[in-house]
Amino acid sequence: MRAEGMLFAAALAAAMGLTSCSRGPERAPEVLAESVRSIPLDPADKAWTAAPEHLAKLVPQDLVEPRLVTPTTPELLVRALTDGSSIAFRLEWADDDQSDQTGPSRMADACAVQMPTRRDKDLPDPQMGQEDRPVYVTYWRADWQAAVNGRGDAIADLYPHAAVDHYPFEAGPLEANPAAKQEMAGRYAPAKILGNLRSGPRKTPVEPLISAGPGTLTPVAWQGEDGKGVFAERRWRVVIKRKMPEGLRPGDRTAVAFAVWQGSKQESGARKMRTGWIGLLWRANQ
């Protein structure tokens, strides 16, 4: 905690000294949220070029088991925009493979933004928060993006040559009774019945969560979270939008942390690359 706090202070000091004299594409030592009228979800939107870029170094999650033993994604480029009520981050990282499908030992690319739930002097543990000081997490996943982009929610959408004999809930006599059909289909999909939307169909590729320490991640009510990820030239560019922290004003600082998962490297859950807390400044209009 103390080490994290010191790093945070150093980042703030460096930010104040360096951002004012940089030229061309800014490489800010903290995340600077630029004010805009409306936040574009498209990561290719030119509005993003106006936002200063922060290079966030990633470290393996090696505090709780299962740990990531071998480092993978080394760094992340972050830009931030805010319209006053929401804040969006554009995360960009190099990835050799687009992993946008899950299956046995097949994981999806993903990234997440973490912010403290309160603007306390002391920040929570940077890794998923702690019991008395939880953190908000907004999580984006490539297979959810594929579902939002139109990929269907059937086995043939994942495995085009799959042959299925029969689903009992698609039997002829049930066609006239959609309620009975849905009830029967639900018996074979308890996660969906319980509202655990880990897969498609989906309206957004992101999920709002709260965490009070490793292993405690829990979905929370939607508050306008959204996002969009595009894979091109072996890079992911992902926009994650969420509500602006309560009480934050232009010129105020808070903190943010990021995590990246590469599906092709078998990363999911605790097996991830992450940052510590990074300063986040809502830059007042210049």
């Binding site: 088991e65 030992s105 655990n196 991640l217």
Partner: protein
């Protein structure tokens, strides 16, 4: 890691959580000598629980032909190789369990099957362990062998799936020891799939969660045996409750077969999970193979099983397999009859030790015709 007692390996071992045994433990005995691999169990399970979208490849129950069959592919030999030497000193396991052999940063020693590994559920089916040379089929005992191994989740005392889950989405029910994945909490990390050495947790790509055998708990709660048990036409299966060895009861069918007569043995006890599906080993399989699968007591188990015809209590209990759909909690033999009853002692079924023989004469004396077996 906590230190826990594992009676199947005769010693303490390390486990992710402290020892916490359920009030009673669901258990089963499968007689491998009676299985004909008809897959009725597989289909009963499939139609009941895994006919949904994303479950197409799942077989919570499967029957594989040993030595070459496995589902998913090589689930057993891959881990045996990863684990290395597995020596026993008497009834004590001298090697490392999958918890003790966990690499740095891992909770258990495991591996993740890929899609292709699930593509051949019938691989090795009916393949003999060796070549059948010309004329060898005419000689007894046969030179070559295979047997059928029916498998479900073992509802272990120390589940590796449960230990591997970093968010506590898997739990062991205190009332019956059945191990379940909380479908509301699971986030599909597949740590449980990697961790389970028996590969009896499956990832569903369309719900995005992992799913597994639930021991038909809605039936168990009603005192009825699971689907794969009651649909077994070979009558190889018996469901019930197992005690720890020091609390074994003479009238408990599972205790009697596992603890008292010791003819039913756990599958790969050396992995350290204390699994609760117990197998009567095949009688015609080389001792070394049985020993690798079922531990150091395999040869004694085969010997005791082969002597069952001279052992009325044991023979009687074996007759209760497949005799009722209810869970037989107690049994007793009275002369030539064996009686199975529930927890309260109420009789569920009575079975003769020897089925009466009826001889049907070839000639019908009343009609004066010769009976044939053809329609």
């Amino acid at each position: 890691m906590a230190r826990v007692n594992n009676w199947q390996i005769g010693r303490e071992m390390s486990y992710w959580y402290p020892e916490s045994r359920p009030r009673r433990q669901f258990a089963a005995v499968f007689d491998t000598n009676k299985c004909i691999a008809c897959q009725s169990c597989t289909l009963a399970c499939k139609t009941t629980w895994t006919s949904g979208k994303g479950q197409e490849y799942m077989l919570w129950n499967n029957v594989e032909t040993k030595p070459y069959g496995s589902y998913p592919l090589a689930y057993d030999v891959k881990l045996l190789e990863l684990l290395g030497s597995q020596e026993w000193e008497g009834d004590t396991y001298a090697g490392r369990t999958i918890f003790e052999a966990a690499p740095a940063g891992e909770r258990v020693l495991g591996w993740g099957p890929e899609e292709q590994d699930y593509a051949y559920p019938n691989t090795g089916e009916d393949d003999c362990a060796g070549q059948v040379d010309h004329g060898a089929r005419m000689a007894l005992p046969h030179m070559s062998w295979f047997f059928y191994l029916a498998r479900i989740c073992n509802h272990c005392t120390y589940p590796a799936c449960l230990a591997a889950c970093p968010r506590g989405s898997i739990y062991k029910r205190p009332e019956d020891g059945i191990v379940l994945v909380d479908q509301g909490r699971c986030r599909g990390y597949q740590e449980c799939v990697r961790g389970c050495p028996y590969k009896k947790v499956f990832y569903n790509p369309l719900t995005g969660t992992s799913e597994k055998c639930i021991a038909c708990y809605p039936k168990i709660e009603q005192g009825v045996q699971p689907q794969c048990f009651v649909n077994c036409i070979g009558k190889i299966r018996l469901a019930g409750w197992i005690s720890t060895p020091e609390k074994a009861r003479l009238d408990n069918p599972i205790d009697y077969l596992v603890h008292i007569r010791k003819i039913a043995l756990p599958l790969f006890p050396q992995f350290g999970l204390e699994p609760h599906v117990y197998y009567i080993p095949p009688v015609h399989v080389p001792e070394a193979f049985n020993r690798q699968l079922f531990g150091p007591r395999a040869a004694q188990a085969v010997k005791a099983y082969l002597n069952a015809k001279n052992d009325p209590d044991l023979a009687g209990l074996l007759c209760l397999f497949g005799s009722t759909e209810m869970v037989v909690a107690r049994f007793k033999r009275q002369g030539e009859t064996v009686i199975g009853s529930d927890e309260s002692g109420a009789t569920l079924v009575q079975v003769p030790l020897k089925e009466p023989v009826f001889i049907r004469p070839a000639i019908d004396p009343r009609l004066q015709v010769i009976r044939t077996n053809c329609p």
